[in-house]
């Protein structure tokens, strides 16, 4: 933010004065801001990359594809930063900044797509754990012969139904993403409405976990 302010001041001064000093100043400030921008984006994308690797629920083909894209972008940023550091000519700096805009204009969309994947991946991971816990509860109830009780049997059935409903929604989402999300920023468009889109799955999972808890306390 600080470097951006300095750049803005230098840019405005150059627009008004257009002296040699102001031209030199805006060149230096622009170059400096470009270097810092590369640094910020590299750090941010690296965080996203680590988060994506550690999130279990993301569909594997999508996960690999986006990790690769992140790594390519990080490498581009590193290279761009190194080049920019060694530039002194005004036209070269301007060209480098323009190239960045042309190459990485969709960086925000890429980040948004990964954020959507992380959100759904986390919900998928919670579903997977819920499913495993339900199996373990069933085993426990079988051992204690509690499943013979019609009340517990009905509760178990309702829990299964709630979990199946969550699974259906998650599966439908992944299928849709794989089918439609081929380089048209489909996921990025979902990001703008993410809470609303994900709310039914979240509510479904929340209900399933409440059922699991009730089932154990019956």
């Amino acid at each position: 933010m600080y470097h951006e302010k300095l750049y803005r001041i230098a840019y405005d001064q150059n627009q008004q004065l257009n002296t040699l000093v102001s031209i030199e100043d805006v060149t230096q400030k622009g170059k400096s801001l470009g270097i810092y921008r590369d640094e910020v984006l590299r750090t941010y994308l690296n965080l996203l990359r680590l988060e994506l690797i550690s999130t279990e629920g993301v569909e594997l083909s999508l996960k690999d594809k986006y990790i690769l894209r992140l790594e390519e972008t990080i490498a581009y940023l590193r290279e761009h930063q190194e080049i920019l550091k060694n530039l002194n000519n005004r036209d070269e700096v301007a060209y480098s900044l323009a190239t960045f805009t042309a190459d990485q204009g969709g960086l925000g969309n890429l980040a948004n797509e990964i954020l959507v994947l992380l959100t759904v991946g986390n919900l998928q991971a919670i579903y997977d754990k819920s499913f495993v816990i339900k199996k373990d509860i069933d085993k426990f109830l079988e051992q204690s012969e509690a499943l013979l009780s019609p009340e517990i049997e009905r509760a178990s059935f309702e829990t299964n139904r709630s979990l199946d409903s969550a699974k259906l929604k998650l599966d439908s989402f992944w299928v849709d993403v794989i089918r439609r999300g081929q380089g048209n920023w489909y996921l990025s468009k979902i990001y703008d409405d993410l809470p609303k889109t994900m709310n039914p799955i979240y509510v479904n999972l929340s209900q399933s976990i409440s059922y699991l808890n009730e089932l154990l306390n019956l």
């Binding site: 984006l41 373990d136 993410l194 929340s206």
Partner: protein, 119 residues
């Protein structure tokens, strides 16, 4: 000559003549003996007496009043509920779900200008 002029042309020395009369009135001293003999003041004495009596009762009541009881501090009864392993797993899962509420975004894209240039 109109009435306004008549007033403005009154001699100022007239006030000096009247001054003796005024001094005679204000010089009359207040005497308690006169009040004692005045029977019309009895209701006033009764009112004063009542006022002091009420003040006395009020002060007495304040002094007799027991100090206010300190509100009892709620004793924290820390009840340690031991969860079974399955209950614990369900509890942890609920916490995890809360943490991943889709309305919260932990890593939003930083506010950087991707399009700035020096020209």
């Amino acid at each position: 000559m109109n009435s306004r002029n008549i007033h403005t042309e009154v001699s100022q020395t007239e006030f000096v003549d009247q001054a003796q009369l005024l001094e005679a009135d204000s010089g009359k001293k207040f005497k308690w003996q006169d009040l004692k003999n005045n029977k019309n003041l009895r209701p006033f004495y009764v009112l004063i007496g009542l006022f002091f009596f009420v003040v006395f009762i009020f002060v007495l009541r304040l002094l007799m009043q027991a100090p206010p009881e300190q509100p009892k501090e709620f004793e924290r009864a820390e009840e340690l509920v031991e969860l079974s392993p399955l209950n614990k797993r369900v509890y942890d899962l609920r916490e995890e779900l809360k943490e991943h509420n889709p309305t919260r975004q932990r890593l939003p894209f930083p506010q950087v200008d991707l399009e700035f240039n020096i020209y």
